[in-house]
Amino acid sequence: MNTEILGIILIFLLSALLAWPLGKYMVKVFKGDKVWTDFMNPFEKLVFKLTGINPNKEMDWKQNLKAMLGLNAVFFTVAIAFLMLQGYHPFWNPNDFSNWDPTLAFNTAVSFTTNTNLQHYSGETGASYFTQLLVFCWLQFVSAATGIAVCALLFKGLLNKESSNLGNFFNLFLKTCTRILLPLAIILSLALTFNGTVSNFDGLQEVTTLEGDTQMVAGGPAAPMVSIKQLGTNGGGFFGPNSTHPFENPNYFTNILENIAILLIPMALVFAFGFYIKRRRIAMLFFGVMSLLFVSFVAISAYQEIQGNPAIHQLGIADAQPNLEGKEVRFGPAASSMWGVSTTSTSNGSVNSMHDSHTAISGGIFLLDMFINAIYGGVGVGFINFFVFVIIAVFIAGQMIGRTPDFLGKKIEAKEIKIAALVAILHPFLILVCTGLASYIVVNNSEIGWLNNPSFHGFSEMLYENSSAAANNGSGFEGLGDNTPFWNIMNGLTMLLGRFLPIIGPLAIVGSLAVKKQVPVTVGSLKLDSAAFGAVLISVILIIAALAFFPALALGPLAEYFTL
């Protein structure tokens, strides 16, 4: 057991250690400083020349927003068209998969465009290699780059002194793809391939098992997709079982690599914030606040899993066994919890164990992670979500010391608070209203058959599904019959709102802060890098996330826990 715990400590420390230099490097890319990937220059120039975009045009927040939304609309349209016409691809479709049902295509196109990767389909039985690579894998790159580029706009805006120029979204977007995501993905997919993650174009292969039976086994170009799904906090697996599948995640070493890849860029962006605005101590405080929550959540989850299921213990079988239901024995309970917390807090959504089968409290922790959705968070958007909490915390703390509040010298006024508050309540609104709607339908249509597990656990499954969609996470408490028009459309809309409103809002805040005059720092100013502010920040995060969801958690995981 000790080695398992050492394993997860190692994952955490390595992630943070690698994130530091990566953060520095990313800032150089954002600021256009000299970096070793400058050899990409001719290629980038060619892309801009072909698309007729001027990457040096200074744009304010609205222009950047239009650029981002426009580009994403194109991605979405192309993706949904390909899915609905999948049967007509002439190549890379060895298993002859046909066209998709429109609501599933809508849900999936939204899901991949919004960096969610909620999968109401199963990769090996529904998606051609063409779809996997040129639709899903492609969207995994560009949706991640969208988030990171917007985050870079935010950094620039916070540094601005009375200038509305946030930089150029197109430029940041492309450079994020070519200079950050691509190199990292190449390194990771090579490492994974060498360690057994499959990478071929052979379709179903007939293999003879040890018992002598023959079996059709799906393969495919999994390694490239696995690497970007982790790095870009996408989470959409090549195969249905995601990273529990031995072809995606063969052994403990690849598990370490993939788990680090989940945390790497989200952590690096927190450091990048510090490097960008040259306030490392503030970044360290933010990192500390996030890590405190993260480590506590991992500890609680791992403890619960290692303790095992009390109901099984009471039966007298397998005494003092950890809870291994739905887990891969090659990873064990601790690494499964570590992954679970990593993937839910970063809005990644890939799994290396079945979250549905975790103990009630551990499942509750995963939910809480998604409610907060800013513990490191999804690439780019995680920090943006965190920024909203910071604005609210600054507003409250500022008043407590007798100053009208400011963040980095920019006054937080009614306009900023209005946007921040709306964004903050959007998340509970989406999750609770959708779950309420689903619960209402289930109560009044007992024959609807969505829930395999009745009562509290079934409720948790629906709560999880909606949280996963709203948080753009993509993992699922499986067991929910979710490939129905109702879930496809509702989740699709939730993902769209949950993705773009929390980007538009903070961008508008930054657009407004960027043009404001900077207030000088005095001894009377709020110290953002003080422990006291850290306490306010944690309280605000917990109050907004936990208090809003406490009754729901009570009826789901807590009720389940107390009835066991």
Partner: protein
């Protein structure tokens, strides 16, 4: 004026406020406060449920008797919140009324011929309330001035005690910096013609009264932002409560409407929602108690953010004017003689400096000469002119005495030896370097010595500056002194910066420079030439004794004309924000305990395991919910004294202050309701 009202509220105020708090239940009034408005809606729904439950029985309607109690407490919650606002308003009004008493209707002698104010004998007597802006009226000794105005003709001594509490009469004169008169004050001598400067109902005082009374009260920017945040919290908890209904039916745990509404009301930030406007009004009221008339709530709030404070040296940092503190004769043997001539030269000098020289001379020597002394017969006194920068006496025996700026005297003292001149310069530098102002004296073109004038720094002022520094406020001394003297005094008084040989343009430039750096600047002024600076500054405080132009340009008027008021203004502003912030924190922190009271109570019947969450071990689900709602209601009146008095501001540095307030109001806000709800539950269980 009663500035020291120790009791928070008297019986009379209480009954007025109670009546007001019921009147305020009008939804049109309530909607201005979204948090309490939603409680009111909750109460109305609850009343309907109560009536229905008298005739029907089902799970969601619940028990009639219980519903009656919950409805009653919900309405009480709204009334408590209204009461908080009403009592703050009543206090403000009472304070304003004492000021308003001074402006009861009086007789105004309105001039008939406006074009010819010189002919001030023809006037009609009308009521002061009929005076309009631009009217001219006459005041004679014994008259009460009927309206605020500006003297256009004449000068008078006026007793302003009714407004400022200062008993010594002041002189007001046309075409000077002191040409404004205030309604309600009394003319003691002479006759003046005054032009009315404000229409009835729009004087500074009327504006201030509007700020503490409900009707015209505008929310300050920060208050608007906070209201938005609180409304969004309310919205979140509305969603939480509404969606809980289908959740619960899925989990087969029916919840009554009373329980859902109770949960909602307990979770939304009613404590701060109920006290928010009271806090704002109390802030204005505190300003009024300090005899400051603020023209807007925003000005008071901004005052808390001030980064730079421009303070006039005279009156603020030093006591009045310079005083003579030493006589330095060039030739020590002639010292007695020197002092005598200093005395003679200053006898007709009516400036405070001149008087202090006479006083010091009489202390330091045996000279007893006064103005009627025989030796001064037929003496010709020469008064100070800016051109010569000297004053003096030509005695009957032909002796010429001159006193003045040392370089002017040096020039005039052509009979002095070169070494004397050098010695003079040496002495002068000594005095200057030590913060004094040298004044040289010469007789018949021969320099005798130097008089040392010094500023007396107010006792305790450097502590106040240290306090400001800890708040993060930079203090800047503005003085007409030369840089050397200014620097010395600045250092001694502990100000951070100074503007020496200051002209009004310098002040203006300094304000602009600071604002360019993003700083907020406050200044105080009285003269017409201060007006642009007062308008430019983020917080401009005009002295009541100042000119109309200064008062118009400023956003606050200090009735006491006390230059140290600026410091108080900053603290009042900070106190306002801190009180708001801390009550908000307290209010939100309370939710933790309320959750632990209500959530297990909601589910424990259907899910017995939930009893584990009942960490307060409350008697029954019904009593748990009831206790939480009761706590939620009575915490409002409990905190009214805090809202009205404000949280004390301590200049201990931002981080320490935040930690302190976080422990007190954040952690306290978590712990207090646990104790409170448990105690109420014990009481409630005695009755059921």
């Amino acid at each position: 004026m009663d500035t020291n009202n120790k009791k928070l509220f008297s019986g009379a105020l209480l009954s007025v406020a109670l009546k007001e708090s019921v009147i305020k239940l009008n939804p049109k009034v309530m909607i201005k406060n979204p948090v309490m408005f939603s409680v009111e809606i909750g109460s109305v729904i609850m009343l309907v449920v109560t009536i229905l439950s008298a005739f029907m029985k089902n799970d969601s309607l619940g028990d009639f008797g219980y519903n009656v109690v919950i409805s009653f407490i919900l309405i009480l919650t709204v009334i408590f919140a209204n009461f908080a606002e009403a009592i703050a308003e009543a206090r403000g009004k009472a304070q304003a009324d004492t000021l308003r008493k001074t402006r009861k209707d009086t007789i105004a002698k309105k001039l008939q011929d406006i074009k010819n104010p010189i002919d001030n004998s023809r006037f009609t007597e009308i009521s002061s309330s009929e005076l309009k802006k631009g009217d001219l009226y006459v005041c004679e000794p014994g008259d009460i001035i009927p309206a605020d105005g500006k003297i256009v003709e004449g000068l008078a001594s006026i007793d302003e005690a009714a407004i400022t509490g200062e008993s010594a009469p002041v002189i007001r004169e046309a075409e000077t910096d002191k040409d404004s008169v205030i309604g309600g004050t009394k003319v003691l001598s002479d006759k003046i013609v005054v032009e009315v400067t404000a229409n009835p109902g729009s004087s500074f005082l009327d504006k201030m009264i509007g700020l503490v009374e409900g009707a015209n009260r505008q929310k300050t920017p920060n208050e608007v932002a906070l209201t938005i945040l609180l409304s969004s919290f309310t919205l979140i908890f509305l969603i939480v409560t509404v969606t809980l209904q289908p959740f619960a039916s899925l989990a087969n745990t029916p919840i009554s409407i009373a329980a859902l509404i109770s949960l909602f009301v307990c979770l939304i930030p009613t404590t701060i929602g109920g006290l928010l406007s009271a806090i704002g009004i109390a802030g204005m009221d505190r300003a009024l108690r300090a005899n400051i008339i603020a023209k807007s709530g925003k000005a008071v709030e901004t005052a808390g953010d001030i980064d730079t404070l421009l303070l006039d040296k005279t009156g603020t940092i030093t006591i009045g004017n310079r005083e003579a503190t030493a006589f330095v004769a060039l030739d020590n043997d002639d010292k007695e003689e020197f002092i005598k001539y200093c005395l003679i030269s200053s006898l007709s000098d009516k400036t405070p400096e001149g008087k202090s020289i006479v006083k010091l001379a009489k202390e330091k020597s045996n000279a007893t000469i006064d103005k009627d002394h025989s030796s001064l017969k037929d003496a010709e006194f020469i008064s100070f002119s800016a051109e010569n920068r000297m004053s003096g006496v030509d005695l009957a025996d032909g002796k010429q005495i001159r006193k003045g700026a040392w370089d002017a005297i040096k020039k005039w003292g052509s009979q002095s030896s070169e070494s004397d001149k050098n010695f003079l310069e040496e002495k002068v530098n000594d005095i200057s370097n030590n913060g004094g102002t040298p004044l040289a004296l010469a007789i018949d073109h021969k320099i005798l010595g130097v008089i040392q004038l010094e500023d007396i720094i107010k006792p305790g002022i450097s502590e106040r500056f240290a306090r400001l520094r800890k708040m993060g406020v930079k203090t800047v001394m503005v003085t007409g002194d030369n840089p050397l003297t200014a620097k010395f005094i600045a250092k001694q008084a502990g100000v951070d910066d100074f503007i020496a040989e200051a002209k009004p343009e310098d002040k203006m430039q300094y304000i602009k420079d600071e604002q360019q750096l993003g700083k907020l600047v406050a200044m105080m002024g009285d003269g017409t030439n201060d007006a642009p600076g007062l308008a430019q500054a983020d917080v401009g405080v005009a002295m009541n004794s100042g000119t109309q132009a200064a008062k118009e340009a400023a956003n606050m008027v200090d009735l006491d004309s006390d230059p140290t008021k600026l410091i108080e203004v900053v603290e009042i502003g900070k106190q306002l924000l801190i009180t708001r912030g801390n009550v908000t924190t307290f209010s939100i922190a309370n939710d933790v305990a309320k959750y632990f009271a209500i959530v297990p109570a909601l589910f424990v019947v259907a899910i017995p395991g939930m009893e584990a969450l009942n960490i307060m071990n409350l008697g029954s689900p019904e009593s748990a919910i009831l206790s939480a709602v009761i706590f939620n209601a009575i915490i409002i009146p409990f905190l009214i004294p805090l809202a009205l008095k404000g949280v004390k501001y301590r200049p201990v540095g931002a981080s320490t202050l935040l930690t302190r307030n976080l422990l007190l109001y954040g952690l306290g806000g978590i712990i207090v309701p646990f104790i409170g709800i448990k105690a109420i539950d014990l009481l409630v269980n005695l009755f059921i």
